[in-house]
């Protein structure tokens, strides 16, 4: 399982922490928490606030992820808009533009939650 991070806002710091602290441990189990190119990944983690302006780019990034592919929505903003639920500029959850497999709640979630979410994908099938 290889992960690419759509690092849109502060939740991306938690992703970075997960890579720094749990990256080696995850690698022993065949999980790469960060890759260079989206074509090398099959999990897209959306961490942060998706704005309407940026939504087409997030979708374009998802289209470059290798099959079979999964999407992890990481944190309140990616899940629902979070504290920006009523904003004129924020997409109310990344599920409005791409299909989501796992939602991780929290504002922000802990780094361990990211690792758990990605581990939970192992064994799940998807085209």
């Amino acid at each position: 399982v290889k992960v690419d991070d759509a690092a849109l806002a502060c939740c991306a710091v938690e992703h970075a922490a997960a890579v720094a602290v749990f990256g080696d441990e995850a690698a022993r189990d065949g999980i790469a928490l960060g890759v260079e190119r989206p074509e090398d990944a099959n999990v897209l983690v959306v961490s942060g606030t998706v704005t309407d302006k940026l939504a087409p780019d997030v979708r374009a990034l998802w289209e470059r992820i290798a099959h079979p592919r999964w999407v992890v929505s990481f944190g309140a903003c990616a899940n629902s808009g979070g504290p920006y639920w009523d904003s004129y500029a924020v997409t109310k959850g990344v599920e409005r533009i791409i299909p989501v497999d796992v939602y991780v709640p929290g504002c922000p979630p802990r780094p361990e939650a990211l690792v758990d979410a990605v581990r939970g994908l192992i064994g799940r099938s998807r085209a």
Binding site: D52, K53, A55, W85, D86, S87, Y88, A89, K92
Partner: protein, 171 residues
């Protein structure tokens, strides 16, 4: 230097300006001339910001902050009618005004005439068409959401019926 003193200096070149609180209010036709005069007569070489205020009955107030390094800070303001919302661009005087004018244009629906690149800056195309900082524009999510708890009684003359933030009270 006070706003009054600054307005007297600018008044030697620009007619029809007056001071309101800290701001020097300029006729719309003299908007660019006032910025040029501020730079040349008061050494206000530094463009700080440009934005607008929805002042309801007064229309929109376009405001810009200019700074003379080591000297006065100036607030220039001009009134723009809502149904005729335009003002000349300041980009010919301060290039840095370009992004501020693009943001103000999309947020308020004010046309900055002569702007070299009037595309929306921060909002999506749909968002930019909505002009979300106009006070009569409601936040759709606020209107649609059912709010928990009781609504304030509407009979009392001194209290407005409670509406969510971002939703104009019904007339």
């Amino acid at each position: 230097m006070t706003a009054v003193a600054a307005s007297e200096v600018l008044g030697s070149r620009v007619a029809g300006l007056f001071v309101r609180e800290e701001a020097i209010v300029v006729p719309r036709a003299a908007w660019v001339a006032a910025a040029v005069a501020a730079r040349e007569l008061l050494a206000a070489r530094c463009f700080d910001f440009l934005t607008a205020v929805d002042a309801a009955a007064e229309g929109f107030l376009v405001v810009t902050g200019l700074v003379a390094p080591g000297g006065p800070r100036l607030l220039l303001e001009t009134a723009v009618p809502v149904d005729d919302a335009w003002v000349d661009t300041l980009t010919g005087v301060f290039r840095g005004a370009a992004w501020h004018e693009r943001e103000t244009a999309e947020m308020f629906g004010i046309d900055f005439r002569g702007h070299p690149d009037p595309r929306p800056l921060l909002l999506s195309d749909d968002g930019a068409r909505a002009h979300p900082l106009r006070k009569d524009v409601a936040l759709a999510e606020r209107v649609e959401t059912v709010w928990p708890g009781s609504v304030e009684p509407t009979g009392a003359a001194t209290r407005r019926p409670q509406v969510p933030y971002g939703v104009p009270p019904s007339p």
